[in-house]
Structure formats: C-alpha cells, structure tokens
C-alpha cells in the first residue's frame, strides 16, 4: 500500500492544470502538480509563478510541483489529468505504468483523438487499468478563475465513488461541481463547443453581429446534440454545464483560445501564424477533423462543422466559409430524437 501524501496529483501544468491546482491548494488540499519540465517545476516551487501558461498570476506557496510522474501517482488516491489531447495518450500510458484499480482517474481535457476516433475516457480505458474514471468539464475560463472569480463544472462518471470523491476534493473551492452519469455527453460537449467557438470568433472578427453569432451557436448546439446522441450520449446533457453552459462562455468571451483563433483568422492571419504566436493549444483546430470524420461515418450532415473545416483546411477564407455555411437549404430546426431523455 502506497503512502498517500497528496489529496490529488494534477498531471499537466498548462493553463487549466495550473488553475485547478491553484484553487485546490487555496481550498486547503494537498496538491502535487506534475509537469514534464524541471525548470517549470522549479519556477512553481520557488518563484510561485507559471509565467508561460498563467502569466501575471501568483500561485499559492503550498502548491508543490514535481517532474516524477510515477512517484507522484503512488502518493495519491486521485489523479487529475489536464493534458492537451495531442499528448494525452503518451501521458496516459505513463500514468498506466503505475496507477492501480483502487485509484480514481479524472480528466479535464476537452479534445478528441482523431485517428481512430477516441474520446479521452476511451484512451484512459485503453492505456490504464483504472476503471474508476471520470471527466470534469464546464465553462471554466482559466484566467477568470485565476483572478478569483467563482465558476461551476460538471463531473461525470459511471461510478458514484468517483463523483463523491471528486466533489469532496473541490468542496470549498472556487469551483462548484455538479454530478452527472453521462461521460460521453460531457466529453463530447466540452470538445465540440470548441468548433463552434472557432465559428463564433470568426463571426466576431468579421463584425457580423449578434444575430448571426446566436444563429451559429444554436445551430452548432443542435449539431453537438445530434453528434453526441449518435455516440450514445443523453440529449439533456447538452443543456447542462458541459453543453450550453460551456458554449456560452467560450463563444462570448475573448479569453477563449478557440474563439481567439477564429477571430484572428477572420482578421486575415493564417492558422500557422496564429499557432506560432501562442503557447496555448486551441483544441477545436484538431477536434473539427475528428468530429467531421466520425460524423461522415455515422451518416450525419453537420453544417457548422463542415464550414469550420473548410475555413481551416480547405483554403476557404473566413468569409467564404461563412458564406458556405449560410448557403444550402435549411432543414428542420430540431432534428433530434428526444424520446427517453426526460
């Protein structure tokens, strides 16, 4: 039996990982923040900052950072992975080398593996022996939370124990956490909204007004629901924090990375230029590929998704992509089978 010195090990010291580690430390939890880079760990331990990902914020002195992943996992009952989807599998594999069946494995990554299509919880299943798996998602703009503003999130798992232990972890922190069972729905919601945020950002960049933005959001939401339910999600999940909740924050706020990418592309920058200028990962840029491929396999016609894809990868300018989205014959407004969801 291992020695449990930490209430949680947060794996990944990017913006959101640092944010979660910070508010949990502030709430009195013993937190170990795991990062790959020694100099980043040193900066967090000695200067109490993480300038690269949380510029301008002071981190709590009690927050401990470390680079020894295996050692870290042996010292906790609860592992929280906050790693970009691109690195998620290799990190999960490393976690899988030590994690055991009694430990809870939670993740807060809003992305999808492209080939083959996999949700993050699928990857955790494949790479680790943990079964007590859960996901945290919701409207959680890092900079707002770092600035001390409260927020809410949903924690979804098939296991009561995962939900209870995760909720207990966040109790008294800036994050109010709600419970859910629909892991697929919560993961799809959190990932899919990044695609819509790209479109909404582009609409802002072109100053097309609030009516159009609202149209994009609403149509995007129905596409999210159609896609999610086809994968086995419950439609009502998308009415919650991981669906409409996250969508509102991401699409309204200039703090959202995906929204920013859409905005800057509409202002004439190329995707490569934007990516070269930031440390942050805009997950929507890869999620759109994963979702488009899978939607075609499922026989779904997702108009907003296709439009965003054209703007990113088929040489359409933002304006052309938006025009394409506005073309074509509009179908039924609500095209989702909601039987059994109430």
């Amino acid at each position: 039996m291992s020695d449990r010195r930490f209430d949680v090990v947060v794996v990944g010291a990017g913006a959101f990982g640092t944010t979660l580690a910070t508010i949990l430390t502030q709430a009195g939890r013993r937190v170990l923040l795991n990062t790959r880079r020694q100099e980043q760990a040193d900066e967090i331990n000695h200067k109490h900052t993480n300038e690269r990902y949380s510029p301008g914020f002071k981190l709590p002195k009690k927050l401990v950072a470390d680079t020894d992943l295996h050692g870290a996992i042996k010292q906790t009952d609860l592992v929280l992975m906050v790693v970009p989807s691109k690195y998620f599998r290799p990190v999960a594999r490393a976690v899988g080398e030590v994690i055991q069946g009694d430990q809870v494995l939670l993740h807060a990554t809003k992305g999808i593996q492209i080939e083959p299509f996999k949700l993050m919880s699928d990857i955790l299943h494949e790479e680790t022996v943990a079964l007590k798996i859960g996901v945290l998602s919701g409207p959680n703009l890092s900079r707002e939370i770092m600035a001390g503003k409260p927020a809410g999130a949903v924690i979804a798992s098939r296991f009561d124990e995962v939900i209870k232990r995760s909720q207990a972890l966040f109790e008294g922190s800036l994050l109010r956490t709600y419970e859910a069972r629909d892991v697929i729905g919560v993961e799809v919601g959190g990932s899919f909204k990044n695609i819509i945020a790209l479109a909404a950002g582009a609409a802002d960049g072109m100053e097309l007004g609030d009516n159009l933005k609202s149209l994009l959001l609403t149509r995007g939401l129905t596409e999210m629901m159609r896609f999610g339910t086809a994968l086995g999600a419950k439609p009502l999940t998308f009415m919650g924090l991981a669906g409409i909740g996250d969508l509102m924050a991401t699409c309204a706020s200039r703090l959202s990375r995906n929204n920013q990418v859409g905005y800057r592309m509409a202002r004439g920058e190329s995707l490569e230029e934007i990516q070269a200028s930031t440390n942050h990962v805009a997950e929507g840029v890869t999620t759109v590929k994963a979702v488009l491929n899978r939607s075609l396999e499922l026989g779904l016609d997702l108009h907003v998704v296709k439009g965003v894809y054209k703007g990113l990868y088929e040489g359409y300018t933002a304006r052309e992509a938006m025009q394409w989205m506005m073309s074509g014959k509009p179908g039924k407004e609500i095209d989702i089978d909601v039987r059994g969801c109430l």
Binding site: R93, Q100, G101, D102, E126, E127, F159
Partner: protein, 529 residues
C-alpha cells in the same frame, strides 16, 4: 473439498445470507412471505410440475403467517428460504461427483460404465458419445486447465441450443476438469439422459416458472456460495438460447455480479485461494437443432416471444438422435472456443494467475475492491465493474465466433434477397421470398468470394475466427458444405441447388444462420459489404 459436508454448508450459507438481506425489518419479512405466497400460488394454478404438497406448504405458511408474531414470521421466512435452497440444490450425489472428478479421462464409456443408472439410457449412449466427439476444443484450453487449479473458474458460453450444456460438460471432462456447478432449467432434467448428467455432475435446478424475487435471489446466492467454496461454475449469461441466431451482445449480469460478491467475500475472509477467473466461450455449430423454433419465436412480435420453450425439437428424443447422427455422418464439427481467462474486472490473466494490463504489465487486482485500504462491498461500484466485465465478455464472444459455411452462405443469400427486393419489408420478404425464387449460382459464388475476402481481413485482425472450409477461399467448396448440411436436417431445406440456380425455400432459417455474422463490421451501414 468434502462434498457431503459442503452440500449442507451451502444450504446454511444461502439461508443465512438471504435472511440477512431479506429479513431486515418485520415489515420486510411479512412482505417477502406474502409475495412468495402470491407468486407461488399463481404458478401452481398452471404449472404441470406443481404438486399438492407444494400447495399445502403455502397454505400452511399463509395460515400461520396471518397470526404470527414478528419472530415467528422470521422463522416462516427462513422455512421458505430453506425450501428454495433445497429445491435448487436437488439430489446432489457426492459419489458420482467423486468418480467423475477422480477418473483420468480415458474414454467416456469407461466413466459411464461405472455409473449404474446410466444403463437406463444405454441405448442413447453411443449417440451421446458421438456428439461429444464432434466437439473440437480450441482456444485457451491449457490456460483454463492451469487456472482451474489456482482458483474458481466461471465459464460463460454463448447459448444457441440445449445441446450446449451437454457439449460443454463433455468438453470439460475431456480437459480433465471436474464438473462445473450449473443451473439447468427443470425441463432439461425431464430428459432422461441429460437429466442424469445434470443431476449428478454439478447441475442445480432452476425453475423458471418461479417468479418470486426471493427465489431469484436464492438462485444467485446459491451460485455465489458455490463459487466461494471453490466450485467451478458454468452459466449462460445470455440467459436463454439466442433466438435470432446472432451471438449475444446483451448479457444478464446477475450471476456475473454474484461472482464479484463471492470474490469480495473471499478477500474479506482472507481465503488462501480467493481468485475467480471468468472464461468466455463460444459454441459454434453448422446446424442448430432448434433453429426453426428459435427463429420463429424471434420473429413473433416483440414482447410476445416466449422465454421458456418446452415443446421444441429438443423435447423429441427421436429428433435429437436423428440430428446427432446426421451431424456425425457429415463429420460436422462443433467448435468450442475457450477464450482468454479474465479477472472480474475484464483484465486478462496469465498462467500463473496474475492479472495483466494490455501491455502485459502485472496488476494487483485486489486493489479494485479496496475501501480505505481494505476489501469491501460497494453496490454501485461493483455493479459498474460487472458492466465492464460483461462488455469484455461480449468482445471476446465476437472475436471467438467461428463463422461456418452455413452462416456465410445464409448471410450472402439474405443480402441478395434484400437487395433484390428493396421495397419489401423483412417479414413479407421472409414469407414470400420476393420476386426471384432463385439466384444464379455463379453470381452467388462471386459474392461469396468478396465476403470471404472481407472476413479474411477481419480474421487476420483477430476480430473473428473462420472455419477451415472458408479459409480455403473456394466458394464452390463452401457452398457444397453449406448445402450438404442444409439438405440433411431441416425438414424443408433452406437452400437447394438445381442446375446452375440456387433456390431459397426457408428464409427464416437463412436469416437465423446468417445473423451469426450480423455483429461484424462488414454488416455496418447499409448491411452491405
């Protein structure tokens, strides 16, 4: 293991556990008693197996319960539970069990001759043995043999025929394993030959007509207790024979859950060999004795299909014999594929009994059930573990399904029928056969060829197993074998060749046999390859 002593110990344990669960309050006791009385009386109104003794018993319970104190009611409940437990256990014969377990498997007859009651059914013996010899054991048999010495095995086969339990029983015997505890429907005990084996070789009785929740819980508890005491168990998690012919995708989780409970009980009791290993198994026939009845039942409007079928082919001994003999004449092998043994969390287990992750790294499986560092029960958690396990079992069913020529040819002809009649609903198509009563054999061969190629690809990725005849990739051979089978048994051959045309006569059977492929990805989308 002392079987005689264990038989009584099982009863004591089952009664105690059910009392713990059901007799929590005086109200709960009363409710349980009257529910059983109600359900049992309803059963006795129509049950041909019902007796006056049974009716009298419940009359007595009712009369007493109405005037009993809470303490007396508890005793009445205990009486009912003990009655259930003893009914389930049946007449367990330790002598037969010992003979069967201690014998080196030199031959079936050697064993059977030592058992005198078998002479009653000696006429059927040769046929039973020929059926057993038809079984070809594949897969992880060596691993199964090794693990059976280290822990309790829970064998969970697919289920298409009443012959399944007999075949599996013989297979386990051939592997030198002791009989497995197995819950068999009362109707099976009615058949002399099978009844004899079931009775004495570990089978306990399941009366599907008994609907009381308490009875169902008693069955589950009975199985769980035997697992804890180290008796290998066998059950069909599909619950009943597959009606559609497809391999089970939805499993009943009650008994898998009982295995989880047994494991945790073993851990908390600090047993030396607490481990329980789950072994999925597929049973693959070219022809299924009860195919016509089963698919007929499947096609009846949903909700009306019968859970218990007692008047099928299996209830006609002459037909059973006929069937077995014909299979024998065709040299038709039944493939029994033993899958990878797993722990109760769906992880594979190696020959030293160690659980492994997908990279072959060892896992401490006891940690899944720890609560604050000690093994313990958590109803919701354990249910989810069982769901995960059921999914892992289904994955192995798919990977270990052996596609045989009859399945393949039936699938291809059904697909052609559907394509040739795109506007026609399935039911009408099955009844009328659509616009063409026959297809060009040459075209069917071509299609067989392309489906075989797709299947070869799947098989090379370990997603399915192909029968030798199919691996030969010769459509003429495959068709020949399929027709040879279809022509001999079913009263009306499903398919017949005349000249260069292939005539379809019984679409229901084609649907049934073709459905065996239905779960594989080549059927995705439009049902086309």
């Amino acid at each position: 293991m002392n079987i005689n002593k264990d038989a009584e110990r099982i009863i004591v344990e089952v009664v105690q556990r059910l009392m713990d669960r059901w007799a929590t309050t005086p109200e709960a006791v009363e409710e349980a008693i009257f529910d059983v009385i109600y359900q049992e009386r309803r059963r006795l109104e129509t049950d041909p197996m019902g007796t006056t003794e049974q009716a009298n018993f419940y009359d007595m319970i009712q009369t007493q319960a109405l005037h009993a104190s809470p303490q007396q009611q508890r005793e009445l409940l205990r009486l009912i539970i003990e009655r259930f437990a003893r009914e389930i256990q049946g007449h367990f014969n330790p002598v037969v069990y010992k003979v069967a377990t201690s014998l080196v498997p030199t031959g079936l007859n050697a064993m059977l001759n030592t058992l005198s009651p078998i002479r009653l059914v000696q006429g059927m013996l040769g046929d039973a043995e020929s059926l057993a010899n038809q079984a070809r054991l594949r897969g992880e048999t060596t691993l199964l043999q090794k693990l059976a010495k280290m822990g309790t095995i829970v064998l969970v086969p697919t289920h298409s025929s009443n012959l399944d339990s007999v075949l599996v029983g013989f297979s386990l015997y051939k592997l030198g394993l002791p009989p497995f505890s197995y819950g068999a429907g009362l109707n099976l005990f009615a058949n002399k030959l099978f009844g004899f084996f079931m009775h004495n070789l570990g089978a306990y009785k399941v009366d599907r007509r008994k609907k009381a929740e308490l009875y169902k819980d008693a069955l589950k508890t009975y199985a769980g207790v035997t697992m804890e005491l180290g008796y290998h168990n066998l059950f069909f998690p599909g619950g009943t024979r597959s009606r559609s012919g497809a391999v089970e995708r939805k499993l009943k989780k009650g008994l898998l859950g009982a295995a989880m409970d047994a494991y945790i009980h073993n851990l908390t009791a600090g047993k030396k060999n607490p481990d329980i290993f789950v072994v999925p198994c597929t049973i693959n026939y070219q022809l299924v004795l009860e195919a016509a009845t089963l698919i007929d039942d499947y096609l009846k409007a949903e909700g009306k299909s019968r859970y218990i079928i007692e008047d099928d082919e299996f209830s006609r001994p002459k037909l059973v014999l006929d069937f077995v003999r014909k299979l024998f004449r065709l040299q038709s092998k039944v493939d029994i594929v033993f899958g990878r043994p797993m722990d109760l969390f769906g992880n594979p287990v190696d020959e030293s009994g160690q659980s492994l992750d997908r990279y072959g790294r060892p896992i401490d499986r006891t940690r899944y059930v720890l609560i604050n560092g000690r093994p313990g029960f958590d109803l919701q958690r354990d249910r989810e573990y069982t769901n995960e396990l059921a999914e892992a079992v289904v994955r192995q069913y798919m990977e270990n399904t052996v596609i045989k020529p009859v399945n393949l040819v039936s699938h291809v002809v059904m697909q052609r029928l559907r394509r040739a009649n795109p506007q026609m609903g399935l039911y009408r198509l099955l009844r009328t056969g659509g616009r063409q009563e026959s297809f060009s054999l040459k075209e069917v061969y071509q299609e067989l060829q392309s489906v075989m190629e797709a299947l070869m690809e799947e098989a090379s990725q370990g997603k399915v197993v192909l029968d030798e005849a199919i691996r030969g990739m010769d459509p003429v051979m495959v068709m020949g074998e399929a027709l040879a089978h279809m022509e001999v048994f079913h009263t009306r051959p499903a398919l017949m060749r005349r000249g260069d045309r292939l005539f379809h006569h019984d679409r229901n059977l084609l649907l049934y046999y073709g459905n065996r492929l239905g779960m594989h990805s080549i059927m995705d989308g439009q049902g086309n390859v």
